[in-house]
Amino acid sequence: MLVITCPYCQEAREEEEFSYAGEAYIARPAVPEEVDDATWGDYVFHRKNPRGWHWEQWQHVAGCRKVFAVKRHTVSYEIAGSWTLADGKALYEEEQA
């Protein structure tokens, strides 16, 4: 079982209180009408599914009901940290750059 820290409740809570909300920071095409089917298909269906560190979203459904970002290792299940979506995005973009 994962122990996830909610950045809003500022407490480590059991996984049971959360629900998984998929990969984080998927950029929606700015003008959907102008992208080709392949680009739109990538946006809707294709996920990174990495073996290693993964930026994902979790929702604290039993607590504050906020969605936030978690960086988790998909092999070791180690959690590097959790942030509000806004705070995490800066770190995410730094990593991707």
């Binding site: 409740c9 500022q10 059991e14 039993a62 607590g63 504050c64 906020k66």
Partner: protein, 227 residues
């Protein structure tokens, strides 16, 4: 002419357990003493703390300071105001007073053009008082949270046997467990079952006029829907 036809009345979600008939004065006998506080008023407040007028108006109308720390609870003789999320609070009071407050708050939000709203959830929630020396042990049987670590004047929103509940600690005597009306039968049976090894008893509710929650019980208990 006598009134006929549809005559609505309020019924606690636990009315079928006939808790009133079972209730006895609370004793310090090691048992778990529990009862429902029926028919309280509940409202969700949503707002943006960056707008100064929001906290001000809430304080002015309810007399309760808007709690800004995670899990903090403001309390006064007229009710409690709990932090449930960075932009959401739960207000609990006497049902009629709560209706007056929400009307005043809505008018104030509109007048100041605040990005805020109230949602009356009185029909959807209920509250149980859980006390006795082993009351924390009962919660430990049912949920994964470290219930003994909730400080006075705080609440935690977590899961008891798959049902979402809020556990509110105002004093060291016991805790209030807040749950949905639709889960009330289930949560009540769950508490009762978990308390069995220690002994379970339904306590008479103390009419304490200065208590933030006990004082909000309508006396006599309302059976008719309030106008």
């Amino acid at each position: 002419m006598p009134k006929q036809g549809f005559q609505p009345f309020m019924e606690s979600p636990l009315h079928h357990f006939k808790l009133d008939a079972e209730a006895q004065p609370r004793r310090a006998d090691g048992r778990i003493w529990c009862n429902e506080l029926p028919h309280l008023g509940y409202a969700v407040l949503r707002g943006d703390t960056a707008e100064a007028g929001f906290a001000q108006l809430v304080q002015q109308v309810t007399g309760l300071a808007l709690p800004l720390k995670a899990g903090a609870v403001s309390q006064g003789p007229q009710g409690v105001l709990m932090w449930t999320s960075p932009d959401e609070w739960l207000l609990v009071s006497h049902r009629q007073r709560l209706a007056d407050w929400t009307a005043q708050l809505d008018a104030g939000f509109a007048a100041q053009q605040l990005f805020a709203q109230t949602v009356d959830s009185s029909g959807g929630l209920t509250l149980a008082w859980l006390s006795g020396t082993e009351h924390i042990t009962v919660l430990r049987h049912l949920g994964v949270y470290d219930f003994e670590s909730i400080p006075l004047g705080h609440m935690v929103s977590t899961i008891l046997g798959k049902a979402t509940v809020q556990v509110i600690r105002l004093d060291s005597d016991g805790v209030f467990v807040l749950f949905r009306r639709s889960f009330a039968d289930y949560v009540w049976r769950l508490l009762r079952r978990a308390a069995q090894p220690y002994g379970f008893a339904v306590c008479q509710l103390e009419a304490r006029s200065d208590h933030p929650l006990f004082a909000q019980l309508a006396a006599p208990r309302p059976s008719l829907i309030l106008a």
